[in-house]
Amino acid sequence: MIICHPISFISRKEKKVDLNPLFKPETLAVIGVSMSNERHPANVIYYKNHFRQPVKVFPINDRGGMLQGENVYANVLEIRQPIDLAVIATRAEAVPKILSDCIQAEVKGAVIVSGGFAERGRGDLQDRIVAIAKEANFPFIGPNCLGIYSPPYVDTFFIPSERVVRPQKGRVALISQSGGILVDHMIKLAGEGVGISKTVSIGNKALIRERELLNYFIADPETLVIAFYIEGFGENEGREFVLRAENSGKPVIVLKAGKTSSGVRAVSSHTASIAGDYEVFSSVLAQHGVVEAKDEFELISFCEALCCYQKPIDGRIGIITGSGGHGALAVDACISHGLSVPTLTEEAQKEMREKISPRIKEIASFNNPIDLTGSAMDDDFVEAATFLSRKKEVDCLLILLLPYVPGITSDLGARLSRIYRQEGKPMIAYVPHVERYLMFIEGFQLNEIPVAHSIEEAVHMAEALRRHQPC
């Protein structure tokens, strides 16, 4: 049985490490600001926090001096205030000493942005900083990372503010081994209107790894969905990770890179030859209800869907459409993804027919998919959605909304979302994503109904809801 430590790891001193000061610091020391190069990562971090975040920031350079009228400290020990977080962006060789200073100054944690450690063959230097930190129970993120973006508290990304597209504050925590992938996904989430609670780039993950952050975000009340970009786990770490995720009560999504094995596999046994690293990874995640996203598009749409609905479904889909062709394609996609599209009883179909507007009674079809035709009005969609929401045969609705159907208005998203709030049956919409239809899309998104770019994506979203449970 594996014992998972809540919120934090426990070091030799058996004292719990608190990660909160890293994510919600009131004071921040930026170590390694350049006196001459304004584009130095430390300077970017200093300015963006100084001007744009509520955290109080102290610049540090070992020569001291003045930076744009602000006093630069020569050492973190000189600051006469308790420091919550230190960002270290110096040469790698200088980091061990700086880390010791931070510990002596009782700083509560650090982000080590500097590269030049294990990724450049300096495993020894990395081992040294890990030993120093462990000895003192001192948490740090990195090295070789962007660190933490935790709105509205702090932002350690050394990317100039004007170059970043920030998602609004929301409920997805995103953790990534790669800084570039992290920023990219933040941009894409922003594009879909999916908000972020916190994001972390963990770089070489020398000390704080996926497991510690999983624990932190499980306990974090601001976070509903936890998404990871992972290249690989350390020895046995995957085991702890899935067991913890399974019992967390929060959806955990993982995008794995390095699916293809470049090495030669052992052929000594059939099992070893078939059960490659990725095959095991993917199967074990599914076994424990961790939702694997196969690519970046899935990661974004799964975040969007699971942010709206955390309760898993069996995958019995009810489809409401304004076009027969869309309905047929959706059925195909559902079946190929292992979802079912149950037929409705004659009685139920008759009941449905009674509820819709007279002008489509004779042309609409009421089996699943319910095809309301191009003559449908908002009211018909609302009636059909209410009706299916109350039918036990289906446990998730797919609304294929075609904004060019003349009787439909951009109010529909808001109206349908009210049905979800009343009836509690998850709903996923498909609306073609072009600027002209933005009003329709936002009608859903602003009311927390996920909207897909394609029928296939809508079905993927439903699949994510189904996969968020042990298989």
Partner: protein, 225 residues
Amino acid sequence: MLTKEMEEILSASREIGWVLEPQAKRLFSLGGLDVPRFAWAVTLDEALRFAKEIHYPVVGKVVSPLVVHKSDQNGVEVGIDNDHQLKETFDRFSRIEGFRGMLVEEMVSGVELIVGAKMDLQFGPVVLFGMGGKWVEIYRDVVLRMAPLRQQDIDSMMRCLRARPLLEGYRGTTPINKNELSRLLMTFSGLVMDLEKVIESIDLNPVLCTSTRCVIADARIMLKH
């Protein structure tokens, strides 16, 4: 918990790096799994005597620490019907490199399944289950789960197989005994957890399942270096 005899089998096998089939079968039989009646005959006389005891037809397999994949080296003979054939097979096997005798065992038939295990770096012990036989790598109809297996894992493993209808009876065949299969997987998973520190991988391939029993027809345990 490993018994003393299991420990002895494992330590005796350490040098060659894997457990010879008769010893692997003995180990699994000690662990509570069903294996065919078998004998490890070092001489032809022993082979003849055992064949007479369990009645023809029998299966003969070469026992050699140098032969991991027996069929690749023509080291398996199925359906040996009489003393003459048995002698011929024995003579042929005795010319195979590293010959240490012949495994003589009862013929068993059934749906060919594979049950395996491997130590995964990231997840520790994992169990594999699927359609077995020689072509397992070609068809790849297998399911993987992290051990120890829970009953829900075993249920989903059987459910997720593409060839599931073959387990449930297809075109007039009788369904296999799911309780026996489930018991085998559960017991095997327990054994894998006990063997975690010493094994690299295990193949039970094929496991032959019928409406009454699930028998391990071949077993191989690869040990950690």
